[in-house]
């Protein structure tokens, strides 16, 4: 059985009684058992998935089915789900099961979603290759010698491998869009505040946003429509509901203005990536879209701004992991004093990338350096956001490659953090500005590696963004 079914296709197969949920989930389970040893996309699988599938079959039979009844969803392991471990890809939380679950999970559960398991990720979402996980590397299903991207690499791989039609990820600087691009699927990062962060383990709180990985934009919209809306448990969540969330039919590309950001198509961008994106833009123009090159000179500071603000917030967010109340506790010595216990626990529990960012974060916030780094970065962040805002006075959407480079080989860059950081050039400014963006497949390289195109929209134009994404996927070949 083909497991690469979108939600709509799966729903139709169920309605037409071609398959039952029970049969479908048995196939998924078999596929995961035989293939995920190699891919390693899941950290935890839901053991009760077949019981839940039978319940969904009953609901379909007696007509009590809900909006997303029985639809499978894999969840990145930094989002809390009842009765499932929340490891965040770290030894620190290897055995931690939260006594709460994320608001988005509550809402999806009420819509009938079945959670298939928790997916692998870079430790505490810090990384862009899924190689920093305590639970081993995840391989790219397209080519097992390559990384799936990250940090939501497990989620992207699970979708690309046909283990689940969709998955949740989290995106702080590109962690949903970049792995989607590397694995040849759709990744969507909503406007900051559209989805509640309650239950999402914080990395950079002012940048973090839960997002979706899926086979098409319609599924992203279906999932998001069930998750969005004000949450009293998250003071940064918004009550704004974007327009056009369901009505994809009315969307057309004719007359829409696209700004192509010049700085992301420079000599530093891989030539294959450039030509694939340029070809796609030509197609868009053929379908009536208007494309113009725009310049954002401030973009060159994006990576620097990000690698000050994100580690600063992270260093503070990760202080809670001290081995005293939950998670790993290194107390091998019975007479250990508290300070030593905390030091030993953190030394053992965190990997080197996490430690690197904690040290960076503490440095940029320390007295004497705060003004030179953090404060300056905050000011530059505002300038960058303003620039985006002003461009949206002229353009409906902005376009960049999702990644300026092709997927990395496994182990290729793990010891070169700076090279990895600069590869986030295209995705980072979107988080700094709180904007919504998607990555959709644009083509493949000579080696057969996927290349994704990023489309950025103004704040809370998420419905229009997903609509145009779906249009391009279907019509602009």
């Amino acid at each position: 059985m083909n497991t690469f079914l979108s939600y709509k296709e799966l729903t139709n197969s169920i309605k037409q009684k071609k398959i039952s949920f029970k049969e479908y989930y048995e196939t998924l389970q078999q596929k995961i058992i035989s293939n995920d040893k190699e891919i390693n996309s899941f950290i935890t699988v839901n053991e009760k998935v077949l019981d839940q599938a039978s319940e969904a079959d009953i609901r379909i039979a007696n007509g009590t089915n809900r909006l997303l009844e029985g639809m499978p969803l894999a969840v990145k392991d930094n989002i809390a789900v009842y009765d499932m471990k929340l490891t965040c890809g770290s030894k620190m939380l290897e055995n931690f099961t939260p006594p709460y679950q994320a608001t988005v999970i509550d809402r999806l559960q009420n819509a009938g979603i079945i959670f298939t398991g928790k997916t692998n990720m870079d430790e505490f979402a810090m990384g862009s290759t899924t190689e920093t996980s305590h639970f081993g590397v995840t391989k790219n299903p397209v080519n097992h010698n390559f990384v799936p991207g990250g940090s939501s690499g497990g989620s992207a791989a699970a979708v690309a491998a046909g283990f689940s039609p969709a998955a949740l990820g989290s995106d702080t600087g590109g962690s949903v869009r970049q792995p989607a691009s590397f694995c040849g699927i759709v990744g969507y990062k909503p406007t900051y505040g559209l989805l509640s962060r309650y239950g999402l383990t914080a990395f950079g709180s002012s940048l973090d946003q839960i997002g979706t990985l899926s086979l098409n934009c319609e599924d992203a919209a279906l999932l998001t429509a069930s998750m969005l809306g004000l949450d009293s448990k998250d003071s940064t969540s918004s009550s704004i509901v974007p327009e056009n969330f369901y009505n994809f039919q009315s969307i057309t590309i004719k007359g829409k203005k696209f700004g192509i950001i010049a700085e992301t198509m420079s000599e530093h961008t891989d030539p294959q990536v450039k030509s694939i994106i340029n070809a796609k833009i030509k197609e868009i123009e053929k379908h009536g879209g208007i494309a113009e090159v725009v310049s954002i000179p401030e973009l060159e500071y994006g990576v620097s701004i990000y690698y000050i603000i994100a580690p600063a917030e992270a260093s503070s967010n990760l202080s809670r992991f001290d081995g005293i109340r939950y998670g790993l506790q290194n107390n091998t010595d019975k007479n250990i004093d508290v300070k030593t216990l905390v030091t030993k626990t953190r030394t053992e529990g965190f990997g080197s990338e996490v430690k690197r960012r904690i040290i960076t974060g503490n440095f940029v916030l320390s007295s004497g350096y705060y003004d030179a780094y953090y404060k300056k970065a905050q000011k530059a962040r505002i300038l960058l956001s303003d620039k985006f805002k002003s461009l949206f006075n002229t353009y409906d959407f902005l376009i960049t490659p999702t990644s300026p480079v092709l997927p990395f080989k496994l182990g290729e860059n793990i010891d070169d953090p700076l090279k990895l950081y600069t590869a986030d050039l295209c995705t980072i400014p979107v988080n700094l500005s709180g904007l919504p963006a998607i990555s959709i497949p644009a083509g493949v390289s000579k080696e057969g590696l996927p290349v994704g195109m990023q489309i950025i929209a103004p704040s809370f134009k998420d419905g229009k963004l997903l609509g145009i994404g779906e249009y391009i996927l279907r019509e602009v070949k």
């Binding site: 939380l93 709460y100 448990k233 003071s235 940064t236 503070s316």
Partner: protein
């Protein structure tokens, strides 16, 4: 040459008595079984977010208004990062560069009795930490109780305007009085709902006419007003001695932290500035900036009660009681409220004030209770005072009626009627008793006539005894003197 004098600023933490904690919905209450009032948010579990309790914001605005502070139109929260086992998140949510209230003052009398303003720098909101407990259980283990963790605090920082230990205590008493008046904190130092840190340095005049300033000592967590006084007085002597030994002056970088040792009454060195942690303040990304509207401020103004200073003046003017009585009554909001309640049922204001401050307060003191736990109603006290003033009962009887009121909760008039304790005012009846007493006490009559004034008192006592205390004392005296002529 002038004497050395201290420069003192106080930082006072007051715990708000809101129903729930500052950023989660756990009950906010003192004590309880350790770790019984905690949740994933105040325990800092991954993915948990703070949500501001609106009552905390409202209370902070009321406090600012009470001290005459400027209320910020935009305020924000910041993270104060430090690592300690009683701080689950590894940071405290506080306010750094945009506190909710700035400015304001507290008026006190200086040591010469002149009125003086102690200026307030700022008042800001922050959350409390848990408590480390070291049990003598032989295990050498430390325990943590997180019940207090996340409780709302207001920190009031004064300018260094205080010039003596007495001024410091007056400032604190006045601050506590105001917080109690606006009913946002219990200000109970024993339970830690009012905590004080003192920044102390000395100005020492030199022989050439100049002055030097000694390095500042911050004395942390002083737990009573008398200890604040002791700590300051100890520092005054210590810093002058230290200066004569080392000649070290305040250079803006040599502030030290000291703790107060309760048992010895001294301050003890804890750490120098270099040893202090760098709090790495930055804006709290989980809480958006808060806009405080005129509307909200106006709403808070309605909550603002009459403040102690104003009440003192009004009680004196409106009821014609002495300044001393007005001051004593208004120092305790509940006591002065009780007084005013009594005044609704009587016009004998001075007598009511006197009765409350002597008879009632002595009971409150011996039983160590507050006026709100006192069983007799204000209306009954007023009636008792009325019965006393219009001569219905004697003061001697009044004491026993008051005693019975407390025991039975009956009103004074019914006690008087039931036990027929009405004062004997009838001339004929009184005269009969007087004649009887005079005839039975011939010796005293002789003594009186020989100029012994004590004899009259004795005869008076006999009349009281025969009348069971009901005889009107004034009338009785008049009649005795008349008969003895």
């Amino acid at each position: 040459m002038n004497k050395p004098y201290p420069i003192i600023g106080l930082e006072v933490h007051v715990q708000l008595k809101t129903k729930t904690k500052a950023f989660c919905r756990c009950e906010n209450k003192y004590g309880g079984i350790p770790n019984s009032r905690v949740c994933p948010v105040c325990m800092g579990m991954p993915g948990m977010l703070p949500v501001l309790n609106e009552s905390v914001l409202n209370d902070a605005i009321v406090a600012g208004l009470a001290f005459g502070s400027q209320i910020a139109s935009i305020t924000k929260f910041d993270r104060k990062n430090y690592s300690y086992p009683d701080l689950p998140k590894g940071y405290q949510i506080s306010q750094y560069d945009k506190p909710i209230c700035s400015g304001g003052f507290i008026e006190i009398e200086d040591d010469n009795g002149t009125l003086k303003h102690i200026n307030i720098t700022r008042i800001h909101i922050e959350e409390d930490a848990g408590k480390l407990i070291h049990l003598e259980d032989g295990t050498n283990n430390s325990y943590v109780d997180y019940n207090r963790c996340g409780a709302p605090l207001l920190e009031t920082v004064s300018e260094p305007d205080i010039r003596s230990s007495d001024e410091a205590v007056k400032y604190l008493k006045s601050l506590k009085e105001i917080f109690e008046y606006i009913e946002i904190s219990d200000c109970n130092m024993e339970e830690g709902s009012l905590r004080c840190d003192a920044n102390i340095s000395m100005m020492i005049p030199l022989s050439d006419g100049t002055e030097i300033n000694t390095p500042i000592s911050e004395v942390k967590n002083i737990n009573s007003f008398s200890n604040v006084k002791k700590a300051i007085e100890y520092e005054i002597i210590r810093q002058v001695e230290e200066y004569h030994k080392t000649k070290e002056v305040n250079n803006g970088k040599n502030k030290i932290t000291r703790g107060f040792d309760d048992s010895k009454g001294i301050t003890v060195f804890q750490r120098s500035k270099e040893g202090e942690s760098d709090y790495r303040y930055f804006p709290e990304p989980d809480l958006p900036h808060l806009e405080i509207t005129e509307e909200l401020i106006n709403k808070s103004k309605l909550r603002l009660p009459e403040l102690p200073q104003n009440k003192r003046n009004r009680l004196e003017n409106q009821y014609g009681i002495t300044q001393y009585d007005a001051t004593t009554l208004s120092a305790d909001k509940k006591l002065s409220d009780y007084f005013e309640k009594c005044c609704k049922y009587t016009t004998n204001y001075k007598k009511v004030a006197n009765f409350i401050l002597t008879d009632i307060c002595s009971i409150l003191n011996t039983e160590n209770i507050s006026i709100i736990d006192f069983s007799v109603s204000a209306e009954d006290i007023a009636q008792l005072v009325n019965l006393l003033s219009d001569g219905t009962i004697s003061s001697w009887i009044a004491k026993s009626v008051f005693e019975k009121m407390r025991l039975t909760n009956k009103n004074p008039l019914s006690i008087v009627e039931e036990e027929s304790l009405l004062q004997l005012n009838n001339d004929d009846e009184l005269d009969t008793i007087v004649i009887k007493v005079l005839s039975e006490n011939q010796k005293s009559v002789e003594d009186y006539k020989n100029g012994k004034d004590n004899a009259l008192k004795y005869l008076m006592g006999q009349v009281m005894k025969q009348s069971k205390g009901k005889a009107n004392p004034v009338k009785t005296t008049e009649m005795l003197i008349e008969r003895l002529k």
